[in-house]
């Protein structure tokens, strides 16, 4: 198993009282699977994603990523682990505004001290997402879709085993979002990554091998997506296919 979560819990304190967000999640995700996590606002999707990636500390339970007990590591240990094996795509892109596109893609490699021979690779990745001619543009000079494509290239730069994507199309118009998803799927297939996608977009979620629905901090359903089980990738229809957007995607709160 690439990802294992056992009895994962998280609560925040709100007004002096604990406010449970995740109430004991058990989950196993096989390598090279594409799973999506859906659910209404406040159901705990992003919290789950953050815990699976070791970005936040759980109130209980544990997470094994590629066999490593994430929370037995120090914060630096988790950072080093992410640097080796994990990639991210965010709803709000989160590019560093002071770096050019190619420099942004280089960040994960440079954090591992691999910058010297990596530039060509970063350029190739940007070329792959169709930004070969915008290498030296700053984020402010790029459109939203272009920024997210840079973020995609960055996510794949360190050849991650696992890729986490949090509402990657949430801030994009429909057509741009669809293009991003297609690219995400292709890159995922080529790199044989395990992909965990959090989204409101049910049509997008359906493209996964597995769709996990959360409500009120619990898994309420865990079923196959239209892509079928792993190995039957590519069965989905057009990325422009039917779908609807749930309420305002910008307001995800714990």
């Amino acid at each position: 198993m690439m990802i294992v979560a056992e009895g994962l819990k998280k609560s925040y304190t709100s007004g002096g009282r604990p406010l449970p967000v995740l109430r004991s999640i058990d989950l196993e995700i096989a390598a090279e699977t594409f799973i999506s996590i859906v659910g209404p606002s406040g159901s705990g999707k992003t919290t789950l994603l953050g815990l699976l990636a070791g970005l936040d500390e759980p109130s209980g339970g544990k997470v094994l990523l590629d066999g490593v007990d994430l929370f037995a590591l120090s914060e630096d240990g988790r950072a080093a682990f992410r640097s080796e094996k994990v990639g991210f795509v965010f709803q709000t892109f989160h590019l560093l505004p002071t770096l050019t596109a190619v420099e942004n893609v280089l960040v994960p490699l440079e954090l591992r001290g691999q910058a010297a021979h990596a530039r060509g690779e970063a350029e190739a990745l940007l070329d792959r997402v169709g930004l070969g001619d915008r290498l030296d543009h700053y984020p402010a000079q790029l459109s939203g879709g272009e920024q997210q494509r840079v973020a995609l290239a960055r996510a794949f730069a360190n050849r991650p085993r696992i890729l986490f994507a949090d509402e990657p199309t949430g801030n994009l118009d429909h057509a741009t979002g669809a293009a991003i998803v297609q690219m995400l799927e292709e890159l995922n297939r080529e790199a044989r990554t395990t992909l965990v996608l959090v989204t409101h977009d049910l049509a997008l979620a359906e493209r996964a091998h597995r769709v996990i629905s959360l409500a009120d901090g619990r898994i309420i359903s865990d079923r196959e997506g239209s892509a079928g089980p792993p190995g039957s990738i590519g069965a989905s229809g057009s990325p422009m296919g039917p779908g609807f957007e749930e309420d305002n995607p910008a307001t995800v709160s714990p």
Binding site: T46, T47, G50, A53, L55, D56, E57, E75, D76, A79, A80, F81, R82, S83, E84, V86, F88, F90, Q91, T92, H94, L96, P97, T98, L99, L106, V107, P108, E110, L111, R112, G113, A115, A140, R154, N158, A250, V252, P254
Partner: protein, 864 residues
């Protein structure tokens, strides 16, 4: 566009006020820290203004005590008979008069044989008429009037290594130290620091034989005239007589006013520093408001969508800025009042009177008003951006309204800012010219520091090695992040570094020059008040092989120039032709000698032996008049040139001379130099004293010379230049400390701006740090990013300030102080390290929670 207010969206003041109050919590967090620099500036202004008032009031209340009398007559020579007559008639009317005579003399400590040049002051009974003198042992005031006894300042005992009851030698008199004077109410600031005193009676002074002919002494008579009309009447009756006799007459209240004027000047100088802090704070406020308004764009757009007009939206934020300014200024006023109360204790040893503090409502209100006004005026230009947020931004965040072509509001706001700053400087400065100059200097310095800073930034960006490790490059590139406040921090910190750097550079050069002058084979011992017949004895006392140079001093006054008396000359209509008063009236100490001195250069005419001046070798025939060589400046002041005649009054005898040459003199050489030199033969018969310089390299030998002088030639005073050097260095270092304090104040204001900038960009920093951690950065890497950023920021700021400091010193030192300038790299490096360390520490402390908090909650907070 700004004229559209009438177009259906009326100005809603009450709404704006309520909304502003609601938003205040948020803005307080983001911009509030910047008001700290407003607080600092207002505190400085309030405390300085209030204390100035306290001081002036206290000094005026104690005017009589400060003088020890109600009025004073003073002169640099014994009173003329007509003045004595006035004093006699006062005494016969029952008015108390006490004489005080002060001069410098060598004093030898009996048991220790230590010699120092000290102030000797003879005081007649009764003085001071006001205030109590404190002595140790208690109640000894008056003991100095007894034969063979003296009172001394405590410092005399330390300097000579004596105790009360020991003997000291003043001239020919051996005196027992009857006690020390701990507090003489007439002492003003630092008086005792300049020269510790030995206090004795006039009879003892005569016995000591210190007052030879031409001795440098000050003669005073203190008068007790409690009724104001009496002391003013005295001036009306005798003013003319006193003026002609060169005797100054001053009332106690006039002296007090002068004293408080001196402190007022100092206060105004300090107020300028407070002002500089306030203005630096203003720059910080402007930059913070700019960023804050950029961030509030979506909110402002929503307001506009909901029907608020441009002006209403603008007013919401103007009210917030004014309220924040008010809080900052109010905190400053409170701090200022506290400082005001503390100041008398801090300055206790320095102030001449006990200062009572009183809450000065005008000072507090003025300080607060200035603070609020500055906050608003600096905020105004960035606040005007609010009008440029169209409602459409609520739907499309990156929508930019077309820019206004000629924005009168913005032009007006800028003009108001400039006028306010210049006006404030003009009001606060000692005079308007200085104030405007200060404002201009501030602007030029800011502009230069800004340009140098920008240059360094551009160079850093272009040439920073791409091979540097990623966290370092990321840190450096953070200086250029959107909405960065690098420039305002550079300005504020750079300004502090500039002030400190300039002081240290100039101070260092002066001290170096001082050391060189004293060590380079120049004379180091000055002997004065020598009588002509003592000359041979003193030469033999100095010993064989000691270089010495003696010059006779002949005290003279100008009787006529080209046949006209000073009184007639003063009536000259044409200002250009009228000689300057000081040059006509002063007492000249002339000399006669064969050769031109080493510090002199002939610029016109010929020397006695016919040597011509290179530029103007005109030969003047003297006939039977004595030939005279005048110093260039004094010749200019007297409006005389080659061929003009000057008749000198030398102790009642007239000596007629004609100007046959003009000299330029390097006054700063440690040699006796003169305005007027006559040819040998002209003055030998006149009453005269001699001044002598000698070089005695060995300190112990100098000590012996001084000791033996006291025994054999009591009227002769010796000045050991190495002591002078110490004294000058002492004064210099005190001045340096004071100015360095001011520099420190600016640097502190700079740090406040930095803290404010960190607070403003906090959200962005947190997000970037969290992102890096998400992408796999270890804490140490995030720390390196931050460290590099603050190191680069501090370095750029400090470097801009220091580059300018070195440039300014290189200009000022040779031009103003006429001293060679070399860069003092050690001190430059020290300042650099100090300011950069301060920046890095402040920055890292301000970013602690960035390292502490897990990344996810931060990344999910409000997006950029």
């Amino acid at each position: 566009m700004s004229l559209r207010a009438g177009e259906g969206s009326p100005l809603r003041v009450r709404f704006a006020w309520r909304l502003a109050l609601r938003e205040l919590r948020h803005s307080l967090r983001r911009v509030g820290v910047h008001m700290g620099s407003i607080t600092l500036g207002v505190a400085a202004l309030v405390s300085i203004h209030s204390f100035r008032e306290d001081f002036a009031r206290s000094v005026q209340d104690e005017a009589d005590v400060l003088m020890g009398a109600n009025a004073r007559l003073a002169a640099d020579a014994p009173f003329a008979p007509e003045v004595e007559a006035i004093l006699d008639s006062l005494r016969s009317e029952g008015v108390s008069v006490a004489r005080v005579t002060t001069l410098s003399s060598m004093v030898l400590g009996g048991p220790t044989e230590t010699v120092r040049l000290l102030q000797v002051r003879a005081i007649e009974p009764g003085y001071p008429y006001y205030g109590a003198v404190e002595t140790t042992p208690e109640g000894r005031w008056g003991a100095h009037l007894e034969p063979g006894r003296a009172l001394v300042d405590g410092a005399v005992l330390t300097q000579l290594g004596l105790a009360v009851g020991d003997t000291l030698v003043v001239g020919r008199a051996r005196l027992e130290v009857a006690g020390t004077v701990d507090d003489l109410p007439t002492d003003v600031a630092f008086q005792t620091a300049i020269g510790p005193r030995v206090i004795l009676s006039h009879q003892t002074l005569d016995e000591a034989g210190l007052l030879g002919f031409g001795s440098l002494a000050r003669f005073e008579a203190y008068v007790r005239l409690p009724r104001e009309e009496d002391r003013r009447g005295l001036r009306e009756r005798y003013g003319e007589v006193l003026r002609t006799a060169d005797v100054g007459y001053r009332l106690a209240e006039e002296q007090a006013r002068r004293l408080s004027n001196g402190v007022r000047f100092l206060g105004r100088f300090l107020a300028m520093v407070g002002l500089a802090a306030l203005l630096l704070g203003g720059v910080g406020v402007a930059s913070a408001i700019h960023v804050y308004i950029r961030e509030r764009r979506p909110g402002i757009a929503v307001l506009r969508c909901l029907g608020a007009g441009e002006k209403t939206a603008f007013l919401v934020y103007l009210i917030q800025a004014a309220l924040l300014g008010f809080f900052g200024a109010a905190a400053g006023a409170v701090l200022g009042v506290v400082l005001q109360a503390v100041m008398p204790f801090v300055l206790a040893g320095v102030l001449p009177v006990d200062v009572t503090t009183r809450l000065s409502v005008p000072s507090v209100l003025a300080g607060m008003g200035i603070g609020v006004w500055m906050a608003v005026v600096f905020a105004l230009v960035p606040l005007l951006q609010v009008r440029d947020v169209p409602p459409l931004v609520a739907l499309r965040q990156d929508f930019e309204a077309p820019s206004r072509r000629r924005d009168w509001a913005k032009i007006g706001a800028r003009a108001l800012l400039v006028l306010s700053v210049v006006g404030l400087c003009a009001v606060e400065a000692p005079d308007v010219e200085l104030g405007v100059g200060f404002a201009v200097a501030l602007a030029v310095a800011s502009l230069l520091i800004g340009s140098v800073g920008r240059g360094i930034m551009i160079a850093t960006r272009r040439f920073f090695p791409t091979t540097a490790s990623y966290p370092v490059r990321q840190g450096v590139s953070n200086l250029f992040r959107p909405q960065n406040q690098t420039m305002s921090v550079t300005l504020a910190l750079g300004f502090g570094a500039f002030v400190i750097g300039t002081i240290v550079q100039i101070g260092g050069s002066l001290r170096h020059d001082l050391t060189v002058s004293f060590d380079s084979g120049q004379p180091n011992l000055l002997l004065f008040d020598i009588q002509t017949d003592q000359l041979a004895g003193i030469r033999s006392l100095l010993g064989e092989g000691v270089e010495s140079q003696a010059s006779p001093l002949v005290t003279s006054r100008i009787a006529r120039i080209n046949g006209r008396t000073p009184e007639e000359l003063r009536q000259t209509e044409d200002r250009e032709e009228r000689p300057e008063g000081w040059a006509l009236r002063r007492e000249y100490r002339n000399t006669y000698r064969e050769d031109l001195g080493r510090a002199e250069q002939l610029v016109a005419g010929r020397w006695w032996d016919g040597t011509p001046a290179p530029t103007d070798p005109t030969r003047v025939e003297a006939g039977d008049l004595a030939r005279l060589s005048l110093e260039l400046d004094v010749a200019e002041s007297l409006r005389v040139g080659l061929g003009d005649t000057i008749t000198w009054d030398v102790a009642g005898m007239e000596v007629a001379s004609v100007v046959t040459s003009l000299r330029r003199v390097e006054w700063d050489r440690l040699e006796p130099n003169f305005y007027a030199i006559l040819e040998p033969g002209a003055l030998e018969a006149a009453p005269q004293s001699v001044i002598m310089v000698a070089r005695v390299p060995d300190a112990a030998e100098r000590h012996r010379v001084q000791r033996e002088l006291v025994g054999s030639f009591p009227n002769v005073s010796a000045l050991d230049f190495s002591r002078v050097q110490e004294a000058i260095e002492g004064v210099l270092s005190r001045v340096r400390q004071a100015v360095a304090f001011l520099g420190g104040f600016s640097a502190f204001a700079g740090i406040l701006v930095l803290i404010g900038a960190l607070a403003t960009s906090r959200a962005q920093r947190l997000r970037e740090g969290a992102l890096l951690k998400t992408l796999g950065a270890r804490r140490s890497q995030v720390l390196t990013v931050l460290f590099s950023e603050y190191l680069a920021l501090g370095s750029i700021a400090t470097a801009s300030g220091l580059v300018l400091a070195v440039a300014a010193s290189a200009l000022v030192v040779p031009a103003v102080f006429e001293v060679d300038y070399t860069v003092r790299l050690g001190s430059v490096a020290a300042i650099w390290v100090a300011v950069v360390a301060l920046t890095v520490v402040t920055g890292l402390l301000g970013s602690r929670d960035l390292l502490r908090r897990p990344p996810l909650p931060i990344l999910r907070e409000a997006p950029e």
